[in-house]
């Protein structure tokens, strides 16, 4: 079942096109990474998904139903953080959750609100006014309000911004737990690429309002050339040997006994076989392709 279907989604602000015919499909149970550089149209897309902004063209379907026609019913199944975690600063964390929970028809019993505040580590500050909170604490409160009504789809826009390293790990584990244990679908927009790499199952990268690439995270990372670091016993001999093969032009560096090459996945075995046949001892072969490199490769290309 598709939880999110965006079809030909477009948003223009005057002459500026923020989102340009975007098509996205998110399936039930996905942790879906939503990536793009600043100004790519991520927040505008999320706002259209939550009916904060009206699309100029295209449709948003959630849980198979058009958002425009079933707004309230669909929003009751979504919890979201949209950009900065802003709250009613003159009210306490508890009162903020109680009010927002009432509007979401959630269980606003003291026990449930305190349980949620406990999940995000704010139970000891429940009765503090939000104006006394740091950005990281507001971010945690934002996650609590997104979970208030036990939604099926959770939209998280930069959920770890402002958190300390432990907070980032906590939120990452919470996201994985929500997906694995509670079968929630997560739509995760983030600039912190390792976070997406570690949590997302599928992802899309958008730039200038258009999807550049979409698919399973590991498939995308494994496709094309990647950096391969080969640690050998005799680097000079190994380098000279590689220079005599078609892989000569793929050498991009040497470091402390290791040779770094740009190879496609299928080529790794051929190179290892070649070095072995030349009698060169291989200590390790480490293919590395981070999402960060992949992201930069794609978004550097003028589109």
């Amino acid at each position: 079942m598709n939880v999110i279907e965006l079809r030909g989604l477009r948003k223009k602000f005057g002459d500026f096109t923020a989102v340009d015919g975007l098509d996205i499909t998110v399936r039930k149970g996905d942790i879906y990474g939503f990536l793009g550089p600043n100004g790519a149209g991520k927040s505008t897309t999320i706002r259209m998904m939550l009916s904060l902004i009206r699309p100029t063209e295209g449709t948003v379907r959630l849980f198979g139903e058009p958002l425009a026609e079933h707004r309230e019913a669909l929003l009751s199944r979504i919890g979201a953080i949209v950009e900065r975690p802003d709250f009613y600063n003159y009210l306490t964390a508890y009162r903020n959750l109680e009010m927002l929970g009432r509007l979401s028809r959630a269980d606003v019993s003291r026990a449930n609100i305190m349980r949620l505040l406990g999940v995000v580590g704010l139970d000891t500050r429940a009765m503090s006014k939000v104006k006394t909170f740091s950005h990281g604490m507001k971010q945690r409160l934002g996650i609590a309000q997104a979970l208030l009504h036990n939604p099926d789809l959770i939209v998280l826009d930069e959920p770890t911004t402002g958190l300390d390293p432990q907070g980032m790990v906590d939120i990452r584990e919470l996201i994985l737990d929500l997906s694995r244990t509670h079968c929630k679908t997560i739509f995760l927009s983030s600039h912190i690429l390792p976070e997406v790499e570690l949590t997302a199952t599928r992802m899309v990268i958008i730039n200038k309002g258009k999807a550049i690439v979409e698919g399973a995270v590991q498939d995308l990372l494994n496709a094309g050339r990647m950096k391969v670091t080969i640690d050998v016993a005799e680097p000079e001999l190994a380098t000279a040997s590689i220079q005599r093969t078609p892989f000569a032009s793929r050498i991009v560096g040497n470091a402390e006994g290791a040779i770094v090459l740009l190879l496609e996945r299928a080529e790794i075995a051929n190179l290892v076989q070649h070095l072995s046949s030349e009698g060169i001892a291989i200590h390790s072969v480490v293919p590395v392709r981070s999402l960060e490199e992949y992201f930069l490769d794609l978004t550097r290309i003028p589109s």
Partner: protein
């Protein structure tokens, strides 16, 4: 559901300092005016009836609780709109300023319900301000200054008997509540257009001041303006202190004010329905 949203909106409105300040101002000014009138009231009375002193003899407790309620209603007519706009001008724009539209409008509640509940909360606030002013001025006024006849000096002198005053004061304050609701509705409309509460407050007060000035200039050029400007009709409470109440003028003014409220409400709903939330 709309009652739930209203409950939430009232919680927000009555948790803000600007709301409390409105009530505090009324709670301080009214007793201060009453005490001042207790001390200096007769001098004020003699000054305001200076032109009549040679022709008439005034006897009895004319600076009484009813008189002070009448005076306070007239005196605070420019101050209470300001207090009203402080809250009504902030109720939508404040969400934009604080960035809280994002958590509010992603709840499973229609925008119509949110806007209606906010409008109702503005009305509750405006009406409570007038109610507080009425209760304080009448109760404290009667306790401090006692009862008596009400002498109204305008284009003619009207002397109202004690047993003929309470219903007139109650009606005048009810009309004042309608007037403040109109001010609240206008500030509410401006609040939907901008992302900062200062704009709606300044614009609404500016309109009140400009229309009041233009309406008071006695030239035929401004006759059409006087007929439709809400400021001309806000002073309709005075009709209740004529010897014989002109109900057609009262109802005309009331209808004009209700018309302003309805138009502002519909316009705000339309604007908010189409508004892209970018803050």
């Amino acid at each position: 559901m709309i009652l739930t949203v209203l409950r939430v909106e009232l919680t927000k409105v009555f948790s803000k300092w600007r709301t409390i300040i409105g009530f505090l101002v009324i709670a301080v000014i009214v007793p201060v005016v009453i005490v001042a009138m207790k001390v200096e009231g007769m001098r004020f009375f003699q000054y305001s009836t200076q032109a009549l002193q040679d022709a008439f003899t005034f006897t009895g407790n004319l600076m009484n609780g009813y008189t002070i309620s009448y005076i306070i209603l007239g005196m605070l007519y420019i101050h209470v709109p300001f207090l009203t706009t402080l809250v009504a001008g902030d109720i939508l724009a404040g969400e934009a300023t604080a960035g809280t539209y994002r958590v509010l409008l992603t709840r499973p509640v229609s925008r119509f319900s949110v806007v209606t509940a906010k409008w109702m909360a503005s009305m509750v606030y405006a009406n409570l301000l007038v109610l507080l002013m009425a209760i304080l001025s009448i109760v404290i006024g009667l306790l401090v200054l006692g009862t008596g006849e009400l002498l109204v000096v305008r284009s003619q002198i009207v002397i109202l008997a004690q047993d003929d005053i309470i219903w007139r004061l109650a009606s005048a304050y009810a009309f004042a509540a309608l007037s403040m609701s109109t001010v609240a509705a206008i500030a509410f409309l401006f609040s939907s257009l901008v992302e900062n509460a200062i704009g709606p407050i300044m614009t609404t007060m500016g309109i009140i001041i400009v229309l009041t000035i233009l309406s008071s200039i006695d030239t035929p050029l401004f006759d059409p303006l006087r007929k439709v400007a809400f400021t001309s009709h806000m002073i309709g409470w005075r009709f209740f202190f004529d010897q014989v109440v002109d109900w057609s003028r009262v109802s005309t003014s009331a209808l004009v004010l209700v018309g302003h409220i309805v138009v502002c409400f519909i316009a705000t709903q339309f604007i908010m329905h189409r508004k892209d939330i970018l803050t």
